[in-house]
Amino acid sequence: MSSKEEEYKEMFLSEALQNYEQLNELFTVLEKDKDDTEAIDSIFRITHTLKGNAMGMGFEAIAELSHVMEDVFSEVKEGNIKLSKSLFDNMFKANDKLGTLIDALTTDEKVSYKGILTKLNVILRKAREKNQPKDEAETPDTNEKIKGTTQEPVVPETESQPEPEPEKANEPQEDTVSETDTSTESGKKPFGKLGEMTARLFKSTKQSEEETDSDISTEPEPESSVESTQPVSETPMETEEVENEQSPDIVEEEQELPEPYFENNVVEEEVEKVVEEEKDIEPEEEQVEEEDEIEEKEVEEEIEEESATQRKIAFSDVVQIPIRKLDALMNQVEQLIIERDRLMAISDIDINGRSNSDFTSLQRITSDLQYSVMDVRLVQIGFLFKKFHRVIRDVASIESKQVSLVLKGTDVEIDRNILKIMSDSLVHLVRNSVSHGIEDAQTRKQRGKPEEGVVTLNARNEKDNVIVEISDDGNGIETEIIRKKIVEKGLLNKELADQLSENEVLLYIFEPGFSNAEKITEVSGRGVGMDVVKRATESIGGQISVETEVGKGSTIILKLPSSMAVKGALLFLLGKQEFAFALTYTEAVISLYKHEIYMINSGLMCKYLDKTISVIFLEDLLSMDCLDEISDEGAFHNTYHKIEDDQKLDVIVVSHSDRFIGIVVDKLLQQKEIVEKTISKPLDNVKLLTGTTILGNGNVCLVVDAAAIADILFKSTNKSKIMEMV
């Protein structure tokens, strides 16, 4: 079984177990107070959900049993079956069997359930015979369907059979449908979601849940479209009836919650909140059991004693945690780390050597703790990737192209928050690949390529980073066209544009307002996009680059940190203040004498390896009152003129978008893992800095934004070049 299916199964199990426990509770409540219509409705709803989920997963036994239970309660609702003691005995038995069946999914035991199934069917048949004597044909039909389970096609007779009940209710139904769906939606969300997912698992990838969702809210027979793709067939009429009948009651139930269920509903709300939060990357929720499950269990235990059945109480192996709780936990761990560093710094000063070993175990434990918490936040990137089947399909159909999506490295793990930030960007990149990259079928044929284009999403780990590549086998990017655009848009004049290397030209696609689309289409070409993608990537300390070969295709490469919580940083001093660069941007540290740095135009240059790179004194940049001063004459020369000729300088070489920049600092300190915090309001709009961190000595260390410096420098040199040309 693939890991994905395993995951779904795990989710199903925890939900099913939850359903089973709720049912147990509800039956007991109902037995005490037989007029509790809300309990009846809840039972009905839960069995219905369970049935749906089980069908989606292909667990026929559970589906069958819960289906019959649902049917029984549908009759109970109608008043066709009396809530007698024997009925409860049977229902409890049925529910126990349900629990055993759920357990059996993990143990692979064989569980016979036909006995209770038949018993319930008999009850059902009796009730129906009694209440619908004229409608004899229906009973065997239903029965046959239930018993026989599965792949039978819909029996046409059933469909056309006049059903007295729904007929009556038909008119009000029309109105309640929409209302119902919103309410059941919210009411069933935690379950319904799994349903969606399992349905997706068994559906062709092209049909997404959004489609079915929208169907549900607009058409009166939505279920059928969902169900039909699932292994168990069902008469549409019945489903419809079921859906519609339950609706008003559920609305009611949502509004006034009976006390015993209060707890559950709170939890549901909580889960919903999480769901809301995760709308963007919807299918990634870690699976589930409530935090106050224990309390629930205690209630359960009492019930168990009452019903005097000797059974083990089932616990799910999965706990669901809202993201905000994880964030809070992470925060506390970060504070602990800062405090640890502070203590270690103190002891470093006071007593040397030996005492430090006192801290080694503390350090190890806290680091482990930190990584464990980080690990909890990691999700498989496949969660996001697999949503792109739909994205591709949509774009391809708009553009009338044939495109398939290949996913690689879906099991690579990455921080959930990073996925959330990057999801929009990835959508944009994938759409771009289809829209700009892949040619139409005819052109592809002429070029000797297969008619169907391929977009590949590939993820892999590289050191502490996750590399995500979005590649297509399409047109590639023609640098000459971009060169022309650069000139047209007035970013550079022709001479300068011609001087740019291929790579430098490609970087211009990430400039704001630079759209390469020949025409504006629905999909892309609005000129917002690549620069937004770049900004998003850099906001989390990532990097973006592009490789292309004309006629063969292009690849966008995103280098993302696997976790946002901790990042490696290079600490240095400037004046008396500590600063840091994120290690993802630092390429090397070199030592230069002043005479090895040359003044060129408005800037400074030095040799690094076999390249000539720009050099900047960070002091010059940070001491500016306003960033506009970079265009002032000699703005980058101030410190250079001040220093002595024989002074040795610490230079950090940062690389950004394939450009290297030497940044002169006063003194290098150390390499360190830091917990970076963004600068809070009101200073949140400061450029040049990405955030701050608190050092062991309590000082605030400012994290310098290498990407911003590279951009500023790049733009200013271009500007001055243009000025000179003019």
Binding site: S680, L689, V700
Partner: protein, 185 residues
């Protein structure tokens, strides 16, 4: 708004039998330059010794930078610089050497002000005092405010008692309305 809610609380807790029909307001009074300024006490979270401040580039001179206060990095603002209240002697010192220490010595305490969204710190030289006034003693008539050199939205009113004149300011509304800019555009 905050002031009013606070006053209600005060009113209820007023048990000293003064039998005031007038509402009492508790103010935190501090000196900026030669004058006395005040903030409503419920805006103030704490008063701490000013920690080391890290300067932030490309900010106005009255944004001193950020500092670590109880594990949170918060922005530190020098209202004297904002209001142009630096005494001439101090100005000379600042002009001569821009070193952080010199200024820190003269601004030993930081008032931590908390809003819903963020905290900011305000530098003061002396430990601030609390001061209780009747609401009616606060003159918030438009005339006074208009004739002061400060922005209209920065001042809630003026308290005149005996020889003292205390200017009641509202930092948070200054932040919101752009009275305190945080970047040099």
């Amino acid at each position: 708004m905050e002031l009013e809610t606070h006053n209600e609380v005060l009113k209820k807790s007023e048990t000293n039998g003064n039998a005031v029909t007038d509402e009492k307001i508790l103010l935190i009074v501090f000196k900026l330059g030669e004058s006395e300024y005040a903030l409503s006490i419920d805006q103030i979270k704490e008063v701490v010794l000013t920690p080391r401040i890290s300067e932030i580039p490309q900010t106005p001179p009255y944004i001193k930078g950020v500092a670590n206060i109880r594990g949170t990095v918060i922005s530190i603002i020098d209202l004297e610089a904002r209001f142009g209240l630096k005494s001439k002697k101090e100005k000379a010192v600042v002009d001569e050497s821009n070193s952080v220490e010199e200024e820190e010595e003269s601004s030993n305490y930081t008032l931590v002000i908390e809003s819903d969204e963020y905290k900011i710190g305000i530098l003061v030289k002396e430990v601030p005092n609390t001061f209780s006034v009747n609401r009616s003693e606060i003159d918030s008539s438009a005339g006074i405010i208009r004739h002061s050199s400060l922005d209209e939205n920065a001042i809630n009113g003026i308290v005149k008692i005996d020889e003292r004149m205390i200017i009641l300011i509202n930092i948070l509304s200054m932040m919101e309305t752009g009275g305190l800019k945080t970047t040099n555009e």
